[in-house]
């Protein structure tokens, strides 16, 4: 099946700088795809090219089989967009805002059902500008959804939210999956991508630096685990068995070992400690988090 979004060699140059420096991407139907990267990495530039708001310098782009630079009303009927910066319609209630937008589409969704979907039932007759930030963002999602699009762009949907508003927003976005929508999400929060996405691409400095599922991104599933513990007074890292000394990655009060086979090495450590009659109360075995991987991938070159 043809991908919903397909990008080949996309480049966008501002003056002397390539904001997007040649990227390739594909998003399949029904997928929640997260485009993850720090501020200024080229996320919004890319998504605005896909939405038809910006021209590109070079490359091939196809969204639902159409070049967004030439997207017509027919195409816009199939695409919804939650923009990064867009305020409420002044003077209109939640329901009236949706009535206004629903009139723009050929085959819109039911208005009350859409209000319920984003959890604004109780706010349906509240003036949109009086909503809280989180509620307003959910109204944005409803406005993007009212035309019943096949594909929805969400540009940093939870930036600036408190934790509970983020949870609610995530719940709404997760609900789009059940509707069978394809979602193109940009975010600079790893936990958001991990929570929502089927697949993640990380962009840094205008280039895709990694692509994968939340579990495998950047080789995370193959990365070494870290074993850390504090030895009691009078015992040093030199006293460890040779097998473990070989794994030594640091000793600054706390000993750090890196291991590709953490279970075997923790076993060896336990045997050694038991024979010596010492305990390791702060023993800690950690796999790299998505955040570790992400920070590693997006680290500015020195």
């Amino acid at each position: 099946m043809e991908p919903v979004v397909s990008i080949r060699g996309l480049r966008k140059r501002y003056g002397q700088v390539d904001a997007v420096a040649g990227i390739d991407l594909e998003v399949q139907r029904g997928e929640i795809f997260a485009f993850l990267g720090p501020n200024g990495a080229g996320k919004t530039t890319t998504v605005e090219i896909l939405e038809g708001f910006r021209t590109r310098t070079a490359g091939e782009v196809s969204v639902l089989g159409v070049d967004p630079a030439h997207g017509d009303a027919e195409w816009r009927n199939r695409v919804g967009a939650v923009l990064q910066e867009s305020n409420a319609e002044p003077g209109l209630t939640v329901r009236e805002s949706l009535q206004l937008y629903s009139g723009y589409y050929r085959a819109p969704r039911d208005i009350d059902e859409t209000i319920a979907l984003v959890g604004l039932d109780e706010k349906a007759d509240t003036l949109a500008p009086q909503l809280s930030g989180g509620q307003r963002r959910r109204l944005d999602v409803a406005l993007a959804l009212i035309g019943d699009p096949e594909l929805i762009f969400l540009d940093e949907p939870t930036t600036g939210f408190d934790p509970s508003a983020r949870r609610t927003a995530w719940h709404v976005i997760d609900g789009l999956r059940e509707l069978g929508k394809t979602v193109f999400l940009t975010t600079h929060y790893m936990d958001e991508a991990e929570q929502l996405a089927d697949r993640i691409a990380v962009i840094a400095g205008g280039r895709i630096v990694a692509e994968g599922t939340p579990g495998t991104l950047g080789g995370r599933n193959r990365m070494a685990a870290t074993i850390r513990f504090t030895l009691p007074e009078g015992t040093g890292a030199d006293d460890l068995p040779a097998e473990l000394r070989a794994l030594l990655a640091g000793e600054d009060g706390r000993v750090t070992l890196t291991s590709d086979t953490p279970l075997a090495h923790v076993g060896a450590l336990a045997d050694w400690a038991r024979t010596r009659g010492i305990d390791l109360p702060d023993l800690d075995v950690r796999r790299p988090t998505l955040e570790d991987v992400y920070l590693e991938l997006t680290r500015e070159p020195a």
Partner: protein, 265 residues
């Protein structure tokens, strides 16, 4: 349910005009500047100058003079002042951009808003005429109603187009109100809105005639003058307004942006 989009372009224009009107009516500041302020001006000017005579020869009573003068101000308030501020706010808050992401054609958004401005302009004028008639006994010529209506509608369209053009020069929401007033206040003074044109030095009158305010004001004055014969349309005024509309259209098509200026910098 038939959607507005399915009813065709005209249905969609009416749909847009309806929600624009709703948004306008819920905006206290917009209501005050557009509907209340012209009434205050009419009361103030008639109270001060009401019994004077204006114009050559016997002239007309100033109270008769101020109904069309302030009507021109009302049309401009509803079409230009309110629209420039609204467009700037909608643009800077990303609302125009979000509308642009929907299938609605640009011309429908513009036509719907213009239709609303025409409706508000005519309503405001009717209120001014009723106030003039019943509070100050200003007689309204009935045979020139076509002239009054045509001039007001052409004026409203012209000032709407100019609002789209002028909004492109405004960088942010805070600058909208002062910039609009900086342009319009002097023009009100020299274009026969606040002060009868006969009281102006000749050169200032010539300056005023370059701009559209004078022609809207002149057209309405002519249509309101009891001595006017025929339907009361001054074609030269309509012509100048149309030229300004054309200039505004070209400029707006050239410079208009749906995206916030602050973000595109």
């Amino acid at each position: 349910m038939t959607t507005a989009a399915a009813r065709g372009p005209l249905g969609l224009v009416l749909h847009q005009a309806r929600y624009d009107l709703l948004g306008f009516l819920r905006n206290r500041q917009g209501r005050f500047f557009t509907l209340v302020l012209p009434l205050l001006f009419l009361v103030i000017f008639i109270s001060i100058f009401g019994n004077n005579k204006v114009g050559p020869g016997a002239g007309v009573a100033a109270r008769t003079y101020y109904v069309p003068g302030i009507s021109a101000l009302a049309v401009i308030a509803a079409s230009f002042v309110n629209l420039v501020i609204t467009i700037t706010v909608l643009r800077e808050e990303g609302i125009l951009k979000r509308r642009r992401a929907t299938p609605v054609p640009a011309w429908v958004l513009i036509a719907g808003r213009t239709l609303m401005a025409i409706g508000v302009s005519l309503t405001s004028m009717v209120i001014l005429m009723l106030l003039g008639r019943f509070a100050y006994g200003v007689r309204l010529p009935s045979h020139t109603i076509p002239g009054i209506a045509v001039t007001a509608v052409v004026g409203s369209i012209t000032f709407c187009v100019l609002a789209y053009a002028f909004s492109t020069l405004i960088a942010n929401e805070d600058a909208a109100q002062p910039m609009v007033q900086a342009v319009m206040l002097p023009l009100y003074f020299i274009s026969g809105v606040f002060i009868p044109a006969v009281n102006l030095p000749g050169w200032l009158g010539h300056v005023a005639q370059v701009f559209p305010v004078e022609h809207l004001s002149d057209g309405l004055h002519h249509a309101f003058t009891p001595a006017t014969t025929g339907v009361g349309i001054v074609w030269s005024d309509i012509g100048v307004l149309a030229v300004w509309a054309a200039i505004g259209l070209v400029f707006a098509l050239w410079r208009f942006s749906w995206l916030p200026k602050a973000a595109t910098g």
